[in-house]
């Protein structure tokens, strides 16, 4: 296609938008509303995801060691546990370190631990332990089972029979919390994407109807174009330009509104009197991280919907 023809068709598309400005404004309005709801759903989804990520850093599991566990088994665990699959962090807390932890926790009353302090103190009732964090909390139950199995060791009983014991006498794992977080993330993701799909379909229908009205208003023109030998691609282009321009304008408006609101919310949450929201604020994705993908996503979504809406409405009128 010649550049002059292309320019002509683009001008035709814009001209049609101006001629049917009320319909154009109506479809921009509806598309902006759809994009805004979609954008809010996506932003909510990614921010809840970020908060869930933050909460997941508290997924510490404690494996308490039996005092009777042989030293060589414990030494082996010190080597093997950090290397185990799905373990992102592993720290060994000796009996003496557990006393110091407890002293810190008791604060002013920490002195009560004085009698139990010191390496090899026989009176120390606190067990040694491993504190482990996981890379993927959704596999917590399986991982705990696997790590527990690593604590198994064999001994010979007094009567000569073989026994299998475990170096871990107790395990504290927040399995319920992890499954709640995993479910929460899944629900937010499904709802977010569900909204994107539903609003996408609504937007296609709206754009499609607008273009259909424009096509109907210009059906004589289309008919003439067909009889003078215009190809279907040539006839379609101004409508595509119209649909995609409506999509792009709506995308820019929606970016301004949603981005502006997000920026305002971020500023408000950083105010000193909103520090009680600190937990959430620290997980909120920064405005400058989201604005690029948000604008890009809106433009792609808007332009694609404009194009699809146009394609679906003009087909019937091309059969001349």
């Amino acid at each position: 296609m010649r550049i002059s023809s292309f320019k002509y068709l683009v001008r035709q598309g814009w001209h049609s938008m101006v001629s049917n400005r009320l319909m154009t404004l109506a479809s921009i309005g509806v598309l902006v509303a759809c994009l805004m709801i979609t954008g809010v759903a996506v932003l909510l989804s990614v921010n809840v995801g970020s908060y869930v990520d933050y909460l997941e850093t508290f997924n510490e599991i404690e494996f308490f060691l039996d005092d009777a566990a042989p030293a060589d088994v414990v030494e082996n665990l010190k080597i093997q546990l950090p290397l185990a699959q799905n373990v992102s962090f592993c720290e060994y807390i000796s009996k003496a370190a557990a006393v110091e932890d407890m002293r810190g926790w008791l604060g002013e009353n920490g002195d009560v631990m004085n009698d139990y302090a010191g390496e090899g103190n026989e009176q120390n009732p606190l067990p040694a332990s491993f504190r482990i964090s996981l890379a993927d909390v959704s596999q917590m139950a399986d991982t705990v089972q696997r790590l527990q199995a690593m604590g198994a060791y064999a001994v010979t009983a007094a009567d000569g029979s073989a026994l299998t014991l475990n170096a871990f006498y107790r395990i504290n794992s927040p399995t319920e919390l992890s499954s709640t977080l995993v479910n929460l993330r899944r629900i937010v993701s499904y709802v977010g994407w569900g909204l994107v799909v539903v609003l996408g379909v609504v937007s296609v229908v709206v754009i499609s109807n607008t273009i259909r009205l424009t096509v109907f208003a210009r059906r004589k023109e289309i008919n003439i174009m067909k009889f003078v030998g215009a190809t279907n691609a040539f006839i379609r282009l101004p409508f595509f330009v119209e649909g995609m321009t409506v999509g792009a304008i709506s995308a820019l408006l929606a970016t301004g509104i949603v981005g502006g609101a997000y920026y305002g919310l971020e500023r408000a949450l950083l105010q000193p009197n909103a520090l009680w929201l600190n937990e959430f604020t620290r997980c909120m994705l920064p405005f400058f991280d989201i604005i690029g993908p948000l604008a890009g996503g809106f433009v792609l979504f808007g332009v694609a919907i404009g194009g699809i809406g146009c394609a679906s409405s003009i087909r019937k009128h091309l059969k001349v």
């Binding site: 008919n223 003078v228 215009a230």
Partner: protein
């Protein structure tokens, strides 16, 4: 098919199938055989519902023959692919009874439109449009909107638009249907002048007087069949006069 045939119908039958099982099929054309040679001026005459519109639709490949073959400008329309239809139509200038001008465009723009939508460079448009407007005697009205012109002038713009691609065939569907009798003669004389330059002209009309006045080959269609083909006035056509 002879090399001078511009339009040829071979045993053409067109049936419009009923929309549902209760509506009957309509036979619009039945066993039509004819050929129109290069440079001919032909009237296709018939009453309303005789099959004239279907005849036109088959030439423009708006409809496909149910049986038989239609050749236009050397192309067999039963074998033509949908994407080739625009190129077929560029070789046919069409003039309609209702002019089909775009009201928001000037006379110049209406003619230029036919060139623009067929991807012709702007400089060629600027050269060609004033020329065809002068051919139809409307150079002075290039910047007028259709509603500012008389019916005859509007039809002349439509004719200029049909001529703009220098098509070898011009098809005029009731070209005088919406204009005064004096202006009708003007339009027909214009078509004759175009024909004298070698363009094949097919005028589809129900106006027997018009065909009789110009004494050209006349193909009579009645109930979907060609009932007469010759130079008017004669045969069944004479009976109408």
């Amino acid at each position: 098919m002879s090399t001078t045939d511009m339009i040829r119908f071979e045993n053409v039958k067109k049936i419009y199938t009923g929309l549902d099982s209760k509506s009957a099929d309509i036979v619009a054309l039945h066993d039509v055989n004819l050929s129109i040679q290069k440079g001919e001026f032909v009237f296709v005459l018939g009453h309303s519902g005789a099959g004239k519109s279907t005849f036109l639709k088959l030439i423009l490949r708006e409809e496909k023959a149910t049986e038989g073959r239609v050749f236009v400008n050397g192309r067999d329309l039963s074998r033509i692919r949908p994407r080739e239809i625009p190129y077929l139509r560029r070789g046919l200038g069409v003039v309609f009874q209702d002019f089909r001008l775009i009201p928001s465009m000037t006379a110049y723009e209406n003619v230029a439109f036919a060139m623009r939508v067929t991807n012709i460079p702007e400089r060629q448009i600027k050269r060609r449009v004033p020329y065809v407007l002068s051919l139809v005697g409307l150079s002075g009205k290039a910047h007028s909107l259709p509603q500012e012109l008389s019916g005859g002038e509007q039809q002349r713009i439509a004719l200029a638009r049909a001529l703009v691609h220098s098509p070898p065939i011009i098809i005029a569907d009731e070209p005088t249907g919406n204009i005064d009798p004096e202006l009708s003669i003007e339009i027909m004389e214009l078509l004759q002048a175009i024909n004298s330059l070698g363009t094949t002209i097919v005028v589809v009309t129900h106006e027997h007087e018009l065909a009789a006045r110009f004494k050209k080959r006349t193909i009579m269609i009645d109930h979907g069949e060609v009932v007469d083909d010759g130079f008017a006035p004669h045969g069944r056509e004479a009976a109408y006069l």
